[in-house]
Symmetry: D2
Subunit: 401 residues, 4 copies
């Protein structure tokens, strides 16, 4: 019996002693899928420089190939989000077929409303009605693309905002924003969702039209049941208690999904969990609680988990494999928190007991559980190492340059 088998055996013994059902844990692990962003496989950078990585995917076909590899090695990334027009092709049906051949489905469609010179002073909030129309039309185009690709989510991030006091009128902009989103919403098919993302700042530096969860929630509430809030972990002021925001949105059934990443300062777009893994654990805890809560379960199971990271100094495919592994690892730890046991401490105002109970789960080495999960699915034990040894990078570097 090798070391990992011994570790697994001991892990099972320990968990069973504590009353956990290993099979159930593994089936819960299976429920959580992580969507890959097409743009995570191409070169990106900061405003100071973008460095080319040899072999980086150059178009959506190559991006899907890289994503398919990540899915093949991890088993939990069956969908890919697209960014329009970055991923625009002439023949959407061919792209869909390409994805299916790779074992993938298309996830959220992300309209781009910040790159075109027309959007210099805003897209759907622009004082100029022609530009607003152009922006709305682009989103409607994305809805049509989503229909063809059988995607059921339009994920909207607006860069809209102003750089200087007096540049525009807050209330006028809010009115235009609401009117524009209303048109979009009214054109949404019954089975399609609209995710509204918020961001504290950047690229606008004085105000951002959808600056926080409160504003995204206000908008989505006015729109209706198909509108949800999307939470990007890097889009908050420093110190924000993100797990609380998650809990609030879950309780209102208004959390649509996530853009996972990590930050230390601003919207740094670093790898999930690279700065504060405990925070990720506390966020997953809320999600696991909701999925296990009969009142919320049906809704909560449909919350979408996507990555949105910039891999400018890390190797892109490796960074994605690392991120998926981290997400699953911390998720596994958070599965080991039983809400009822925690409530026992909470009822007694036993702060230390409650905290130590959480820390017990967070400090747990759940490698054996992940090992079993992958073994059952016939996946490599360590996807990252497997990839490194596979020679894939050398091969695509030769082809793609």
């Amino acid at each position: 019996m090798d070391l990992m088998e011994k570790k697994y055996e001991l892990f099972v013994e320990e968990l069973k002693n504590e009353g956990w059902d290993i099979e159930k844990l593994i089936s819960e692990l299976m429920m959580f899928k992580f969507e890959l962003p097409s743009w995570g496989f191409g070169d990106m950078g900061t405003r100071f420089a973008t460095f080319h990585e040899p072999g980086a995917a150059r178009n959506i076909y190559e991006k899907l190939e890289d994503a398919a590899l990540v899915n093949k090695l991890t088993g939990i990334c069956p969908t890919v989000a697209l960014h329009i027009p970055w991923d625009k092709v002439d023949d959407w049906k061919d792209l869909k077929k390409h994805a299916e051949n790779l074992g993938l489905k298309i996830g959220a469609i992300n309209p781009n409303l910040f790159q075109d010179p027309d959007y210099k002073y805003g897209s759907v909030t622009n004082p100029d009605p022609k530009i607003r129309k152009r922006a709305i039309d682009h989103i409607l185009e994305c809805i049509e693309i989503a229909k063809i690709l059988e995607s059921d989510v339009i994920s909207l991030w607006l860069a809209d905002g102003t750089d200087y006091p007096g540049q525009d009128d807050f209330r006028d902009r809010k009115k235009r924003l609401e009117e524009s989103l209303k048109i979009v919403y009214d054109n949404l098919p019954e089975n399609m969702k609209l995710f509204i993302e918020y961001k504290y700042f950047e690229p606008a530096f004085y105000h951002t039209d959808i600056q926080d969860w409160g504003m995204a929630h206000l908008l989505s509430t006015k729109l209706g049941d198909k509108a949800y809030v999307l939470v990007d972990l890097g889009h908050h002021p420093l110190g924000a208690n993100i797990e609380q925001i998650i809990a609030i949105l879950l309780s209102e059934k208004k959390l649509g999904g996530f853009h996972f990443n990590n930050k230390k300062y601003a919207d740094d777009d670093l790898t999930l969990g690279s700065i504060n893994p405990y925070e990720v654990f506390l966020i997953f805890k809320e999600l696991v609680f909701a999925v296990r809560d009969s009142e919320l379960s049906n809704y909560a199971k449909n919350v979408r988990y996507m990555f949105d990271q910039v891999h400018s100094t890390k190797s892109k495919i490796e960074a994605m494999l690392q991120s998926v592994n981290t997400a699953q690892y911390i998720l596994a730890q958070s599965l080991l928190v039983d809400r009822d046991k925690l409530l026992d401490y909470q009822k007694k105002f036993d702060l230390i007991g409650a905290e130590e109970y959480l820390l017990k789960a967070f400090r747990r080495d759940v490698t054996p559980l992940i090992w079993k999960f992958r073994k059952d699915l016939g996946l490599p034990e360590n996807p990252l190492e497997y990839y490194r040894r596979s020679g894939y990078k050398v091969k695509i570097s030769e082809i793609r340059g």
Copy 2:
């Protein structure tokens, strides 16, 4: 003709050239009243020390006397907010009479839900139903006091929150919070408003149950038309665009009122405008715009302006006079922004023109306008200097110690 008269003459000439109506400006100035907090006249401090100021008011009767003096010298502070139980008396009618004799009315009633040992782990969110009941009962008591004192605002700040992950359940607390506030709201007389204050952090250091405008807005929307959001300028994360939050709440007719102060780091409770006077100007601009906007005017005129500052190193009455003066001074500057003129720049995407137009108003020396305002009302030209020369402080120091 003395210097100030010459300055006023030139000021009038300049403003008339620009098309302003001086009489209208002065009548607008008159519309804005600032409520004084009783607690601003007593000794307060930080967690490290509270220093006694000789002559500081020792009880609500003395606090009202000091407030009356501030009102007498400035002419724009006719109401005083109370803090229960700090200002609790046996005979409320006598207190009301005392206030009236001093030319004052009672403003907002502020329940205290943080000081009693029972509230160690929360008041209206406490897991213990007995403590929740106690907290609710205290607010209901405050409603009764408000009725007697003919106050029409209950101003609720909750210190509720947790210090550590796992200490309590976010969704359970939110549910209790909503249920408790519902009981309070249902007991509110028709003509009374409930202001719900939010705060980013402190005294709880992991999470605060009402942490931002989004949460206060969500709660007040669920409650109904008598519930409003109260904005304390010091209760935001660093960088928050407060004027935008004001504009959003105004557009939703959900801004109830303010706690004015200033911050550099956290909830520093410094004098209004002492760190960033331009921000105060930008906030007032939104309020002036709303008051002048026929769609919002009736509602916006009822927004309440209160101070909530800690004068631990400044002399208390002087600090209040200084604050009121600053508020009126910056308000006067913001009156000199014409929204239509600003819109002209905005429509043309003339950021610099718009900004320079704002700066023209902000850089204006409005001393002559304030001078005229005070002269018309028979007030001292410089209330702070008048007070300093009056000997009031020496006198009360002898009496109060």
Copy 3:
């Protein structure tokens, strides 16, 4: 063989496979001692409320008794820091004897320069030379106390600063600060160190005279070799990379010691590692690297580790036991980082390899190592649970009230 024994066996097998020497790790663990602050055992609070905990120590004799218990149960807290005048007694020799009888030594002496009304506008920076002299004399008195108690560290935290622009002159204050510290330094015995603490803000809210490591370093460099910088983990702006500051100060041999705690927003004084345990791990990594580095080892071994937390909602003795356990647990994880192995990744610009190597150590369940450490020393396996079962709290509550 019970579960923990099996876990330890497997742990040893795994570590040996990786080339670690278990005995050496345990001897390294033994090198790190954590100083307890006397004030951590008494009631403390926020500016809004201080709640009494039944049984909380009322004086320095009782505080030492509680500290002795924590040391007895953890084996790694042999010293206690004092705060003067909070811990002032008439007979210092008797106090010293009391400590020794309890198996304790006196650690750092902390002068209090913020509580007295004289210090309202500063202590050693005060414009008034009489107040400066008073402050300096108090520190000199602390040096005398330290001599009697055989303490070798004066740990200086200044609350000095201003609340408003214009309140005082920055350069004049700096000059007074340098002059005052010079007098103190010149009175320091040869074997005594001066630790200079910095803090970003609070209780002063416009500027703090020693606001960051740069200022504390500048001062300590001017003073000389006996002056060092003290790092309180909660005294930085949000986002500060504390581990980098540690590395800089270590490389300059100017890091004197720590005040351990954790923060989410400001100087929250929460339990070490309660918000971001990974950050604590990254800090310990730097310390372990320095202790293992022959160039720095002799110096680095003398860095002092103290707690400075406010236990206002947690039970005090339990919170201390929890903190010491957390410190040792994360230290043990950081011992499992080999700098040379990390350098191999760094040389190859393998960011992901380096990060995964760190995460491997951080994700490690080091419970078996701590278990062995405690077993060897005859300590309880779980000090916190042992304390809870001991009935100590009930007993002292009856005595102390």
Copy 4:
């Protein structure tokens, strides 16, 4: 007599009453020159988009032409900073002549150490000695260019840092940084200064090698008398008291110069004073105090003032004219603070008196003083309006596209 003449007359009367010497104020105004950055005239943007402005300068010759115009209209911008290799030309002497023909001199030379793929993992701190050498060689090349152009400042901003824990070793990087800078410093001619800039974060998102003034000061102190700290207003954590840092560096004679801009969140690179003009006033106050202080005057007069802003949504030349105007306007206000008068309040602990004295200067409408300054020099009364009416932009747009 037109309105401005009347305003000036009244301004003079008022200032004379207060004991000010108008001639002296105007000569002090003249002492402060502001350096223009060549890169401020070309298209720049955020990581999300760069928008082209018609007529934006395309090369250093055109940039100098635009800068010359700004200097001609404002009279206080006689130097231009260069960025190498952005501004690299084959014939430096020709460029120098071009500048001189335009009435300009070359200011600071800024090496670019972040754009080349070689610098992906650092420049002078890079683990690879070949890349370090390349970076050092580039700075040495800049020194040679500076010699030819008769510039006396090398202004060094390093983007060096890491994105992830474990990516590199803090102490090793610091050692390499010190060694590299030593080589640079040793190659500096006697009359040339080295400015070392610091930045809290970005483009590196885990740590930055020169992260704050403390680190820049430590480095410059080790190097020697020709090394100074450069302060970019946008490179601090939120809440940083920049005027205090300025005062500290002035007292140590280690402040070299500024990069002026403004921020609300991160390194937003907005127009100076656009977010908090009062902060700019408080900074200028420290500079004016130093220039008027006989102990510091000779040194302080040589502090360099440069702009470093990104004009992505504002018209570039207009933004520069606006910035220069703002700088001079706020400088003029700060000249109206007399340190001795302020000290009188400070000595009496009269916080409110001191603050109101500052506010009196800040609230002053100094337009008449600026008007007189420009009139005396034969400059347009309002450079920005003059430029707008001049048709320059249309003309260059036709030429440059």
